[in-house]
Amino acid sequence: MSSEDFRSLLPLLILAAASILLLVVIAVRRDHRLVYYLTVAALAAALAASLIPVEYSPRTASPLLVIDGFSLFYSALLNAAGLIVVVLSYTYLRPLREQMEEYYVLILLAVLGSVILAASRHFASFFLGLELLSVSLYTLVGYMVRSRDRSMEAGLKYLILAAAAAAFLLFGMALVFYEAGQLGFSGIGKYLAEAEALSLLIITGFGLIIIGIGFKLALAPFHMWAADVYEGAPAPVSALVATVSKGGVVAVLLRFYSEVDGYQFPVLALLFSIFAAASMLGGNLLALLQDNVKRILGYSSIAHLGYLIVAFLSGGAMAAGAATFYLVAYFITILVAFGVVAHLSSGEQEAEKLEDYRSLFWRRPGTAVVFTAALLSLAGIPLTAGFIGKFYIAAAGAQEGLWVLLFILAASSVIGLYYYLRIIMAMFASAKDPAQRIAPLFSGVGLLLVILTVALVWLGVFPQAMLDMINEWVAG
C-alpha cells in the first residue's frame, strides 16, 4: 500500500487507533471526563479526515475497501452523528451508577463498523463492518445493567434477532459465492451480467441477503425488535441505533445494488416494494397505539426507512441523491428528537411517557420548541428538512412511475401526522400549576440542540447547498 492509500484510509485508522488508545487509558485510570474528551477529539479528527482526502479519491485502497466521494460523504455523516451522540451521552450518563468509560469505546467501534460498511466493496468487509457495528450495539443497548432492567431485556432481544439476521445474510452470501465464485461486488456484477439464466440458488441467496439487510434497517415484516430496542436502550443509544447503524447499512445497500445492478431483477424489486409498503403503513399505524415517546420514535423510524426504500427503488439517476438527502434530513431530525429525550431524562428516570411531556412548553419553552421543530420535520411539514427530503423522494419515485408506492407514502404520512401532533398538543397543553416552571439552564446539550434545529430549518429553506454537495460527492 502506498502512502496515499494510508492517507485515504485515515478516517478508519483514526477510529481504530483511538478505540485501542481509549482501552489503554481506561486500564491506567478511570476518568469519565478524560475519556469523553478523547472520544470527541477522535471523532472530530475522523470527521475532518473524511472531508480532506477528496483529492485522492476515488481510490481502491484494498480489494475490500474503496474510498470515493460516496464513502467519504457517508463517513463524514456517520462521524458527525457519532460525535453528537457522544455529546448527548456525557450529560446523560453522569448521574448513573454505571462504569461508563467503556461506553465510549463501544461508540467508536460502532461508528468504525458503519464507516467500513460505507466503504466496503466486498462481502468480507460488508460482513466485518456489519458485525463490528452489531456487536458494539448489543452491548450498548444492554449497557444499563445496574440501573434499568429493560435495557438488559432490549439488549438480549436485539442480540438474538440481529444474530439470526446475520446468519441469514451470511448464508445468502455463501449461496451467491457458490454460484458466482466471487465475493467482490464488481465480480458478482460481472458474473450476473454474463450469466444467461440465474439459478434458484443465487436468487435465494439475494433474497436472504435482502432479509438480513431488512432486519438491520427494521423494515416490516422484520421490524419487531425496533420498538423494544428503542424503548429499552438508553436514549443516546437509541439515537445511535436510529442513525449510525441505519446509515451504514443504507450506504452498503446503495453501493451493492448499483454494482451488481440489482435493478434488473423484477423479483427483488417486488420484494423491496412489499417491504416499503408494509413499513410505511405498519410503522405509522402501530405508532398510533403508543403512548411512550421512545416507542413512537421507534415505529416512526420503521416508516421513515420505508420512505427511504421508495427513493432507493426508483433506481434512476436521482435514487442515490434522494436517498442520501433524506438520510441527512432524518439524521438531524432524529438526533434532535432523541437529544430532547436524553436532555429531559434525569438519572435513572427517562422522560419517555407522553405524560412527561404534558405542558412542557410552560415549564421549558426552549426545549418544547426544539422538539416541536423535530416532530414537524418527521411529519414532513414544509420549511423543515423532512419536507424537502420527502419532496425529493416523491420526485425520484414519480420519475420512475412508482405511483402505488407514492400513494401509500402520501396516505401513511397523513396517518403519521396524527401521532406527531398528539405529542405537540400534549406539550402545549396549559399547565395546571404554573409555579412548576423551571428556569432553563444554559447547557452544552441545549446549545447543540439549538444548532441542530437551526440546521434542520436551514435545510428546509435553503436545501440547494446540501443538494449540490450530495450531487457532487455521492452521485457524481
Partner: protein, 102 residues
Amino acid sequence: MTPDYMEQGMLLAIVLFCLGFVGLMIRRNVIFMLLSIEIMLNAAGLAFIVSGARWANADGQVMFIFILAMTAAEVSVGLALALKIFQKYKTLDSDAINRMKG
C-alpha cells in the same frame, strides 16, 4: 472434491441452517436460542467452505475464519447478558423475560 460432493455439502449446509432456524423459532430458553443461532452461523460457514472448494478459492475458508471469530464475540456478549438476566429474573425462559410489549 467431485461435483457430487459439492451438492451434498450444500444440501447438508441448507439442512443445518433450517434446523437452526426451526430451533430458534420453537425453543424458549435463551441458551438454546443462542445455540440455534450458532448452528445457523456454522451452516453458513460450511456453505462457504464447500463453495470455496468448488472454485478452488481460499476466500471461502477466510470467510469461515471470520465467521468463527465473530460468533465467539457474539456468544460472549450473549452469555454475559444471559447471566445478568438469570441473576435478575431467576429464569432463562424468554417468555418470562419479555416485559415490553405493544
